[in-house]
């Protein structure tokens, strides 16, 4: 049994690098939820998300001695998890778009077309179980090049620099992709809430 880990700063990197299982268990406890959230949203499948997480943590444990500490442990784990998810996806669908490929979106596709004003509807009316489910489905509709940027920055709350570090893209690319992802999702949610209001 271990105590609950509390913060990333409390992780003993020396013990971790030496392969100490208790220290590794603390890291798993601290990051499992966050990495599961990333794996689930990238894959869209809870069973696949579990497999991604297992594979990612095994890979992290095997390579822990190579962790240099230039990024924090969390960013390092997010990167391993995302790369694991992507590799598994490529095996299943070889034509999967990579994060480092140019964003193939016509700028016209990002122009707002929905102007239904749902921002001030009280949350108890806005956020039904169905609406939360739709929010999850809308993420699955995001282009692959935008999805991880939005998940890491706006859902997980990483900084722009951390997202860039995790995905190995520039901060300018993070900002640009984040903006496109937000516009895309705003459009989907606006369609959904407009339809619901009209029903």
């Amino acid at each position: 049994m271990t105590e609950h880990p509390t913060t990333a700063e409390q992780i003993d990197l020396d013990r971790l690098r030496s392969g100490d299982k208790a220290a590794f268990a603390q890291v798993v406890e601290l990051y499992a939820d966050r990495l599961y959230n990333l794996a689930l949203k990238v894959s869209g499948d809870p069973f696949e998300a579990e497999d991604i997480l297992q594979e990612a943590f095994i890979s992290a444990y095997k390579n822990i001695s190579r962790f240099e500490g230039r990024s924090n442990v969390g960013t390092w784990l997010y990167r391993i998890t995302y790369n694991t998810a992507l590799m598994r996806q490529r095996k299943k669908q070889p034509d999967t778009v990579s994060i480092d490929e140019p964003v193939q979106i016509d700028s016209g596709d990002m122009l707002p077309r929905q102007f239904f004003d749902w921002c001030c509807i009280p949350e108890k009316d806005l956020l039904t179980g169905e609406a939360i489910e739709y929010m999850g489905e809308a993420i699955q509709l995001l282009p692959e090049s935008l999805k991880p940027v939005f998940i890491l920055r706006d859902i997980e709350g990483l900084s722009t620099a951390e997202v860039g570090d995790t995905l190995d893209i520039s901060t300018a690319a993070v900002k640009s992709r984040l903006h496109r992802a937000r516009l895309f999702l705003r459009e989907r949610l606006s369609e959904y809430f407009a339809e619901r209001a009209a029903a």
Partner: protein, 91 residues
Amino acid sequence: MDKHTHHHEGGSSCHELLEGLSLYLDGDAEESLCREIEYHMKDCENCRVVVNTLAKTVELYHEHGKTQMPQEAKQRLFIALDLGDYMSSSE
């Protein structure tokens, strides 16, 4: 904005301002851009809706977009990693 793109007198078009909206919402926009957006929104209802619903989209996903790993899945993970002895006492 496709149907209502217009220039306000002495100001920017909706389309021109669209690119800067995330910077504006994140507090990363230059002061001059903030002023332009706020000036533009005063008499552009559609842009006001876009800014407000964009901000709400970000807020909703930040507050309600996380999915917690089910306890059983976490237990399976610890066992698969041969860390069953280290599962925290809450599990």
